[in-house]
């Protein structure tokens, strides 16, 4: 069985978000990056299948030089092989272009399963997974909270509102865009990290995947005009002072509400 896991390297969850002077995105130069949280759950789900049956887990990611680190981490956790699309011409791609690149990798790899995270912690577009499924002509499910293989079928539980779950059956090959909390993500062991250095990591370009015309700013079908700090409307009244002062202020308010 072959599982393709698509990862994105995103700004660390607690990174300072300084907006570029042209407002087009945040400054990425001096912040830390990490594997997108949703994608770590996707990788873990693939590794759990590999724990139980023979499977090759291939991780793929699109990004600049720093993305190699994310792929080595994934290999350290137990993935077998990595594909890094490191190509400046990809800069400015929208989700659909990213999906086209990943689908090109998918067509080369012919995986039985493709796992992605539901969305990325930076853009929150939640698009690449279902788009890759469409391009690879596979059935898919999003917001997956549990997945179990039953022969040539996969039973997935999708998260609905209020904690309800929709149970669907997908034929293989299929794609899952997983939700956080589907499992508990493992740490890479020291042994795993050492072994990762020797595992194959191939660097590819858009051209050798045959998608050079379909990517980059020129091909993008959306344009982010600007990003900005949300205008504050009223917002909270902020209490200042020491913890004891503040506690007194809060208690006074709670009393006023008649709740003490």
């Amino acid at each position: 069985m072959k599982i393709l896991v698509c990862l994105k390297q995103v700004p660390h969850q607690d990174a300072r978000l300084d907006i570029k002077s042209d407002g087009s995105w945040i400054q990425e130069d001096s912040i830390k990056f990490e594997i997108n949280s949703y994608d770590t759950y996707a990788l873990e789900e693939a590794l759990r299948i590999k724990d139980e049956k023979e499977a090759e887990v291939v991780v793929a990611s699109i990004g600049p030089d720093r993305t190699t680190q994310a792929l080595r981490t994934a290999l350290g956790m137990g993935a077998d092989r990595a594909v890094h699309v490191n190509d400046d011409s990809v800069e400015g791609s929208d989700a659909l272009a990213i999906a086209k690149i990943l689908a090109a990798i998918g067509n080369e790899e012919s995986p039985d399963l493709v796992f992605t995270g539901l969305m990325a912690d930076d853009g929150n577009f939640a698009s690449v997974g279902p788009m890759v499924a469409e391009l690879l002509e596979m059935p898919h499910a999003t917001a997956v909270m549990s997945a179990s293989l039953e022969g040539e079928k996969l039973i997935a539980e999708r998260e609905l509102e209020g904690g309800a779950l929709e149970v669907v059956e997908l034929q293989l090959p299929c794609l899952l865009a997983v939700q956080t909390g589907i499992n508990q993500v493992r740490y890479a062991s020291l042994k795993g990290i050492m072994a990762a250095k020797k595992k194959p990591l191939d660097t590819r370009s858009a051209a050798d995947l045959g998608v050079q015309e379909l990517v980059g700013t020129g091909a993008a079908k959306i344009k982010v005009q600007k990003i900005y700090v949300p205008p504050k409307t009223q917002g909270a009244e902020i209490l200042e002072g020491s913890a004891t002062d503040v506690a007194e202020g809060l208690v006074a308010k709670i009393k006023e509400l008649g709740l003490l």
Binding site: P11, L17, I26, D94, L96, D122, N124, F125, A126, S127, G129, P130, M131, E134, L135, M138, P139, H140, A141, A143, I155, R158, E159, E161, G162, G163, A164, L165, E166, V168, C174, T180, G181, Q184, K221, I222, K223, V224, Q225, K226, I227, Y228, V229, P230, T233, G235, A236, E237, I238, L239, A243, T244, V246, A247, V251, K253, I254, L257, L259, L260
Partner: protein
């Protein structure tokens, strides 16, 4: 600008409120004559008729047992057929579990622009600009489509449902559904375990900022107890396995409307806000002054919750004794 197609969604036999919100957006940005709608499901004709007079405009109905439950493949096929039939260049869905599941596939199938989870649409010089949030709610973004067709999803609750009247006809489209590679099996309703937070009058919730599972019984629970309330949590806490799902407040957990909600170490991502914004009074404690939670809180403290919360617990106990 060409025709707009609203993809309405059924829930428990009626068209959901979020579909009427799509009608508000559509009627705001387009001429009523350009507004089209699709109502898809089984035995939906009556609802479709109502929708055509309440913002839906010209409604196409796909009424078929094959679509009695949501299925990405069947919905995709029906929606693509209607997009073609209505010559729509803007397609709107709600960002619900069905919407976010099928909409990106539609965009890929049409090689269209895709702009999801928007909270508003502006019109600037004949162009549509979509407003959405990025970085889990910390920043806003203005996004435009640079393609002939745009598929967009709107956040449920982002605007009021349409309250006007519209005229429109309702016609039926027969779709011969292809064989599918996926099928709906069942819906599992969430079991209610533990405290029913939706009934609690006071809730003290902890988020990722609490940092450690032990700190919930050590720091958060004592404040909840002192106030005579219940403890809750945001999603990351449950994802990390620190607390079970029944503590989760948010769109995929419980929606709560207590008299008092105290959010400790919670940044205020949209999915959490959806769960508690109906609270009567909100107090937020977070060391990050830019956290989105301070925008909807009534009273806030920018500080270390490990100093503030124990101080507050003591102060509450003193006040009560």
């Amino acid at each position: 600008m060409g025709n707009i197609l609203i993809v309405a969604e059924m829930q428990n036999g009626s068209i959901r409120e979020s579909s009427y919100e799509l009608a508000s957006f559509a009627q705001k940005i387009a001429d009523p004559s350009q507004v089209r709608s699709l109502v898809i499901g089984e035995s939906v004709t009556e609802e479709a008729n109502a929708f055509s007079t309440k913002g839906g405009g010209e409604v196409t109905v796909v009424d078929n047992a094959a679509v009695s439950n949501y299925s990405a493949e069947a919905y995709r096929q029906a929606i693509l057929a209607v997009i073609q039939e209505t010559n729509a260049s803007t397609i709107l869905l709600s960002n619900t579990p069905s919407g976010w599941d099928v909409a990106p596939r539609l965009a890929a199938a049409l090689d269209a622009a895709f702009i999801p989870d928007c909270f508003d649409i502006d019109q600037v010089d004949e162009k549509l600009v979509f407003l959405r949030r990025v970085f889990n709610g910390k920043l806003d973004a203005r996004v435009e489509a640079v393609a002939d067709i745009v598929v967009a999803t709107m956040q449920p609750g982002a605007t009021a449902p349409y309250e006007g009247t519209t005229t429109g006809t309702v016609s039926s489209l027969e779709v011969s559904f292809n064989e599918q590679k996926s099928r709906f099996l069942e819906t599992k309703v969430a079991e209610s375990k533990g405290v029913d937070l939706s009934k609690a009058e006071i809730i003290v919730s902890g988020g990722r900022g609490v940092g450690d599972p032990e700190k919930f019984p050590e720091t958060i629970q004592p404040l909840a107890d002192a106030l005579g309330g219940a403890m809750g949590a945001s999603r990351p806490v449950v994802d990390a396995g620190w607390l079970p799902h029944e503590y989760q407040v948010g769109s995929s957990g419980q929606i709560v409307t207590p008299k008092l909600y105290v959010a400790c170490g919670i940044s205020g991502a949209i999915q959490h806000l959806v769960g508690m914004k109906g609270s009567n009074f909100i107090i937020a404690i977070n060391k990050d002054g830019d956290a989105p939670i301070f925008e909807i809180a009534d009273l806030g403290v920018v500080g270390d919750l490990f100093e503030v919360v124990p101080a507050l617990t003591d102060a509450v106990k003193s006040a009560k004794s």
